[in-house]
C-alpha cells in the first residue's frame, strides 16, 4: 500500500513541478507585488503596505467595474449554457464521421486567434461594417445603428468562442444518460419538452456546473475582447488591470486588483457550485 503511494507520487511529480513553477510561484510573486507601494516607476521599493487595497475599496469606479465583470461573466455563462443544449443533443445523437465533422466545426472558433476573431466582429458590427452598410444600401436605415461598443456585442463575441466549452461539457453529461430513459419517458406519455425539463435537465446539472465555472472565469479574466469591442464604454476589471500594468505601469496596483478579482471570481464560483450542489441533492436526494 505504502509502496504504491510512493510510485503514485513519482508519477505525479512532473505535474507538481510544472504547476509549482508556472502557477504557484507566479501567484506568490503576484501576491507579494500586491503589497508593495504604488507608483508609476520601474523601480519598486521593498516596504510592504496595504495601501493599494485601501485605495481600491475607496474608489467608486472599482465597484462599477467589478459589477460589470460579474454581470458580463454571468450573462455569458448563462447564454452559453442555454444555447448549448440543442447542439449537444444533436452531437450525442450523431455517429461516426458526421460526429467527427461536427466536433471539428465545434472547435474551429478556438483555433482562431482572439484578435482576428474580434476584428471579424468589428468588420460585421461597426458603423462601416457589413450589417450597417447593407441596411443603408437597402435604404432601410438613414444613419448607422450602433451595434458595437455596447454590452450586447460584447456578449455575442464572448459566446461565440466560449459556447463550444458548454456544448462539450453538456454533451458529456448527456452521454451518461441511459437512452432507454428517454424512451421510458416518451412511452409514459411525455412530450420532448416535458422530458427535457423533468429528465434531461436534472441529469445534466454536473455539466451545467462545469460549464459555468469555466466560462465564468474565462470571461472574467479576458481583456482583449472588451478592449476591442466595447472600448472604454464598459469598464471591466480585467481591462482595468491591463491598463494599470501596461499603460500606467503601476505593477503593484495591477497586482492588487488581480488579487481582488481572483478572490471575487473564486468566491462567486464557490457560491454557485454550492447552490448547484444543493439543487443536485434536492434532485437526487442525499
Amino acid at each position: 500500500m505504502i509502496r504504491k503511494d510512493k510510485t503514485n507520487f513519482f508519477l505525479i511529480l512532473p505535474a507538481i513541478l510544472f504547476l509549482t513553477a508556472f502557477l504557484i510561484l507566479p501567484l506568490i510573486i503576484l501576491l507579494l507585488m500586491a503589497f508593495r507601494s504604488s507608483g508609476n516607476s520601474i523601480v519598486i521599493d521593498d516596504t510592504l503596505t496595504i495601501n493599494n487595497f485601501i485605495s481600491i475599496f475607496k474608489n467608486q469606479s472599482f465597484y462599477s467595474g467589478i459589477l460589470n465583470t460579474l454581470k458580463l461573466s454571468a450573462i455569458v455563462s448563462i447564454v452559453c449554457i442555454v444555447l448549448a443544449y440543442f447542439p449537444a443533443l444533436t452531437l450525442v445523437k450523431t455517429k461516426g464521421n458526421t460526429k467527427t465533422l461536427l466536433y471539428v466545426v465545434l472547435l474551429s472558433p478556438m483555433l482562431t486567434s482572439v484578435v482576428i476573431r474580434v476584428y471579424s466582429w468589428i468588420v460585421i458590427l461597426s458603423s462601416n461594417g457589413i450589417i450597417n452598410q447593407s441596411l443603408m444600401k437597402l435604404h432601410l436605415i438613414k444613419s448607422p445603428l450602433s451595434l458595437m461598443w455596447n454590452s450586447t456585442s460584447l456578449v455575442i463575441a464572448f459566446v461565440q468562442v466560449l459556447l463550444p466549452y458548454a456544448i462539450i461539457f453538456i454533451s458529456n453529461s448527456l452521454t451518461k444518460i441511459d437512452n432507454n430513459l428517454f424512451r421510458a419517458s416518451n412511452s409514459l406519455g411525455a412530450s420532448a419538452l416535458y422530458t427535457f425539463f423533468h429528465v434531461i435537465l436534472p441529469l445534466t446539472i454536473p455539466g451545467i456546473l462545469s460549464s459555468f465555472t469555466l466560462i465564468f472565469s474565462l470571461t472574467a479574466g479576458s481583456y482583449i475582447t472588451p478592449m476591442l469591442i466595447a472600448g472604454h464604454q464598459k469598464q471591466v476589471m480585467a481591462l482595468t488591470i491591463y491598463q494599470q500594468a501596461m499603460q500606467i505601469m503601476n505593477l503593484p496596483m495591477a497586482a492588487a486588483l488581480s488579487v481582488v478579482l481572483l478572490l471575487v471570481v473564486i468566491l462567486t464560483i464557490v457560491i454557485t457550485n454550492y447552490l448547484g450542489r444543493l439543487w443536485e441533492v434536492r434532485v437526487y436526494g442525499k
Binding site: 441511459d178 432507454n180 430513459l181 424512451r183 421510458a184 419517458s185 416518451n186 412511452s187 409514459l188 406519455g189 411525455a190 412530450s191 416535458y194 423533468h198 429528465v199 436534472p202 441529469l203 434532485v283 437526487y284 436526494g285 442525499k286
Partner: protein
C-alpha cells in the same frame, strides 16, 4: 383490453432487411413470448409496437385501431426494459407517478394509484427510496409498477429478467406471470431464455432469420416444431438420419457393433424431404443389452444437479440424452459402453403443416 395484430410488417435499416413480412396476432389478455437468437429482431419488433421505429411496409393494430404512424407518447403502451430505466433523479414514488402527472391526474388519485401499483409488486414500504438504493429485482418491480400504473392497453417486456441472478429470475418469472393474470393485460415478453418462455407463456413465437418461424403454445412449439430451426432452437434435440428408397423412407440407427435397428418406415410420397427427431429425455438407458437396444460409447457428460446430459457416439451418429439423477442410481463415466432403447412412438416428424407423433 387489447388485441395486437401485425400485418405484413417489413422493417430494415437502409438496404438490409431485419424483419420480413411479419404476421402476428396476440389475443386479448394473453402472455405472448418472443424468442429467438441474439440479433433476430426481437427488440426491433417491440420497438415497432412501442413507436420508436416505423415499419417500411405493413400495418400494426391494437384493438383494430391502426397505430402504425402514431408517435410513442400517443400510444397507450407500458414498457419495461432490461436496464430498468428508472429515472435516477426521482424516488420510487415519483418514478411511478411520472406517467400520471403527465396525464394531469389529480393529486389524491395519483397517490392512491401509485400506492396500489406498488403494493401489487410488494414494494409499498419503499416509496421514499431512490432507485440506486434498491436491488436489481426491486428496481425491476418498480419499473413494472411504473408501466402498469398508467393502465396501458398492452405491456411490453424486453428481456426484463436477464439482468438478474438465476434464483431471482425464477422468482420474478412467477411474479410477472401472476401479476399479468391478475391484471389481465395483453403482454409481450421478449426473452432468450427458452425455459422462461416455455414455463409462463400462453403462446410463443420463434423469431429467426428475419421471419416468424412458428407460433404456438409452449407444448406445440416443444413437441411439434414445424421445422428444424425451431426444433433445434427450443431445447436440445436429435435429428435422425433417413434412408429413402423409391417407395419408402426409413429412420434407423446403426450402433458400434454394426447392429441396425429400423424404427420407422413411411411411404415416400407423403413424407418426402421430412426430418425426424427425438428429444433427449426420450432416450432410455438400460442396464443390459437386449434385442431392441443399441450400444454406444459415452463421450461426454454434463452434470446438471438433478439430471445429467450425455452424448453417445454410435457408428456415425451422435445422440444427446438426459437422465434424471437420484441417490440409488450409479453415476455414469465417460468412455463407458451404454445400452439404450428408443420408443418409435416418441419419434416426431418435423412437418411444415404441423408435425406430430405416430
Amino acid at each position: 383490453m387489447a388485441r395486437i395484430i401485425f400485418e405484413n410488417v417489413d422493417y430494415g435499416y437502409k438496404d438490409t432487411n431485419i424483419l420480413n413480412n411479419i404476421n402476428l396476432e396476440v389475443a386479448n389478455g394473453e402472455l405472448f413470448s418472443l424468442v429467438g437468437p441474439s440479433g433476430a429482431g426481437k427488440s426491433t419488433l417491440l420497438n415497432l409496437l412501442a413507436g420508436f421505429l416505423y415499419p417500411k411496409k405493413g400495418r400494426i393494430l391494437i384493438d383494430n385501431q391502426n397505430i402504425t404512424e402514431l408517435p410513442p407518447y400517443k400510444r397507450n403502451v407500458g414498457l419495461v426494459f432490461q436496464s430498468y430505466a428508472l429515472f435516477p433523479n426521482m424516488n420510487v414514488f415519483n418514478n411511478v407517478a411520472y406517467g400520471l402527472k403527465i396525464k394531469k391526474v389529480n393529486r389524491s388519485e395519483i397517490k392512491e394509484r401509485v400506492i396500489k401499483a406498488l403494493s401489487m409488486v410488494n414494494l409499498e414500504q419503499y416509496i421514499k427510496r431512490m432507485p440506486r438504493e434498491l436491488s436489481g429485482g426491486q428496481q425491476q418491480r418498480v419499473a413494472i409498477a411504473r408501466a402498469l400504473v398508467i393502465r396501458p392497453q398492452v405491456l411490453l417486456l424486453d428481456e426484463p429478467l436477464s439482468g438478474l441472478d438465476a434464483k431471482l429470475r425464477q422468482k420474478m418469472r412467477s411474479v410477472i406471470r401472476e401479476l399479468q393474470q391478475r391484471v389481465g393485460i395483453t403482454t409481450i415478453l421478449v426473452t432468450h431464455d427458452q425455459s422462461e418462455a416455455l414455463s409462463i407463456s400462453d403462446q410463443i413465437a420463434v423469431l429467426g432469420e428475419g421471419k416468424i418461424q412458428q407460433v404456438g403454445t409452449p407444448e406445440a412449439i416443444y413437441n411439434r416444431p414445424v421445422n428444424a430451426y425451431v426444433a433445434e432452437f427450443i431445447g436440445s434435440t436429435n435429428l435422425l438420419n433417413t434412408v429413402s428408397t423409391t417407395n419408402e423412407i426409413k429412420v434407423s440407427l446403426t450402433d458400434i457393433n454394426e447392429k441396425t435397428i429400423k424404427f420407422l418406415t413411411r411411404p415416400s410420397k407423403n413424407f418426402k424431404g421430412l426430418k425426424f427427431m427425438i428429444r433427449p429425455e426420450n432416450i432410455r438407458l438400460v442396464e443390459h443389452a437386449e434385442p431392441e437396444t443399441l450400444q454406444g460409447i459415452l463421450t461426454k457428460i454434463e452434470y446438471l444437479g438433478n439430471a445429467e446430459k450425455g452424448w453417445i457416439q454410435l457408428k456415425t451418429d451422435e445422440l444427446v440424452f438426459y437422465r434424471s439423477i437420484n441417490h440409488d442410481k450409479k453415476r455414469l463415466q465417460t468412455g463407458s459402453v451404454i445400452n439404450f432403447s428408443i420408443d418409435p412412438e416418441l419419434i416426431v416428424s418435423i412437418n411444415q403443416n404441423g408435425s406430430g407423433r405416430f
